[in-house]
Symmetry: C2
Subunit: 323 residues, 2 copies
Amino acid sequence: MTDVNDLATRLRAGDIRALARAVSLVESAAPEAPALLSACFPHTGGALRVGITGAPGAGKSTLVDHLAHAWRTSGSRVGVIAVDPSSPFTGGALLGDRIRMRERATDDGLYVRSMATRGSLGGLAGTTADVAQVIEASGRDVVLIETVGVGQDEVEIVRLADVTVVVLVPGMGDDVQSLKAGIMEIADIFAINKADRDGADRVEKEIRAVQSLASSHHAKTADVWIAPIVKTIGTTGEGIDALLATIEKRRQWLASDDRIQARRRAYWRDRIEAMLRQSLLAEARAHGLTEAELQSHAQQVASGAEDPYQLVPALVARLFGEK
Amino acid sequence: MTDVNDLATRLRAGDIRALARAVSLVESAAPEAPALLSACFPHTGGALRVGITGAPGAGKSTLVDHLAHAWRTSGSRVGVIAVDPSSPFTGGALLGDRIRMRERATDDGLYVRSMATRGSLGGLAGTTADVAQVIEASGRDVVLIETVGVGQDEVEIVRLADVTVVVLVPGMGDDVQSLKAGIMEIADIFAINKADRDGADRVEKEIRAVQSLASSHHAKTADVWIAPIVKTIGTTGEGIDALLATIEKRRQWLASDDRIQARRRAYWRDRIEAMLRQSLLAEARAHGLTEAELQSHAQQVASGAEDPYQLVPALVARLFGEK
């Protein structure tokens, strides 16, 4: 067993190898993970968590690189988690292997970690949340979380962000159709990337149209954040300053009226519930619901011999009835 | 309380209003739902479950209409679940409001139900699975499950299908990028729809390329199903016969060597686990973990006063310690 307290002390002191080791322990749900996360917890809560999401090919990674570089230049310590839950066939998790590699070697103020852990024990969102905690505890002012796509997993992942930037690109079929798929709700800021392409104005217009539709559904209060739209060109860095300024504006908005606390309370309510669900299942397994037993029930149910809607309550009653 | 056994008897006898009522009870996780699902369970397991998934705009609904019509013509009784977990803004669940409406009014052999229950109690995949059980129990030979997109939720939903058709369209940015996002694993059949458009051949070539890459990763056994590719034109109905024949081929493949039983065993193993996880949490709540307590813990954690990684094990210990 790794000495968890020693590891936590070292990662907090800026030891990158200790940080990498700690992230691996958490990612693999090692037995040490809970104690390690406990040791890290008091050193979290202060960093700004920025989510960057959008379809493959939208240029998220380039934007993340620009943002990370800008924050480094202003003296902030930055962590990046690049989540790519892609096919095992096509590899995935290659996001980090870019220009970052160069910086990483020489700058311990920038830590980049790629993850592709679809099917991880606590779910991808849970694992990402835990990894973010460890990275933040290593003295980061900003933690960037980059996710591909806008599936349910991604929505759950960006919930842990204080600011979520949704990256769209003109002409990728990324417009009205994607807006339909739940993007509007999670976007705090829209970045229209590759904005020198035809159709950037059209994408902007479409976002505005959906926003005005949405705002007519809301109560008219001053406390509504209408997601600003920023145009960027990743290849040249154009618009990055405006994106940074918009993120900063969002940070200030969150800081007033206890908004960030309210957001984080809501986040932790759901996160505690998810952790509890996971732990209860683990406990159930420890109390005798072995994999063999589960498989045997599955066989009975698949053949029609056992009714799952009666089986599950019976299992729960047995588990809770035990001391 | 609804009389569950009476409702089950009526829906099995073909009473469409009883079926609609039963689906609503299950969808809303009404107190009667478990008993109703138990009453339906003995009358399930025989239907072919076909999943149809793909990006918005791919023409899934039109294909589903054609397939449903073809099965009806050959005398099969058909159920359709159209899952559209879209934005509350943009409405969602409008999928069913199409030409189907016409048929539905006059043909009780075709039952169509739209669902848009993101955030439902047992998760969208769980609710869809339960709804599929109820619909199948109403004497359906085929249950079609249509889902939008390829997020994690959708992947979980199509797991309950025996045959999953992934619908792609030329020129929608739907090619290599989407293949990356996990489509290859879930596709049993690819339908290249709108195949009269430019680029249909290119999409086919790309699928073949990824398949040959994938097959080099697999052990060379005879028991591997390489997903066939069918070209369709939804507007004219071209290729529907070929798609039907391919689904039938898949059904026959599944019928041999106990494959369908193996697939369903694996499905039920995960489904029982998911049900158990949900039930354990419900039980935990019944044993005194009130919403107020959860909210209070969330506040403590958000403010840094309480460590969630110690809190959750303590809660679990308390819950399992109780009689």
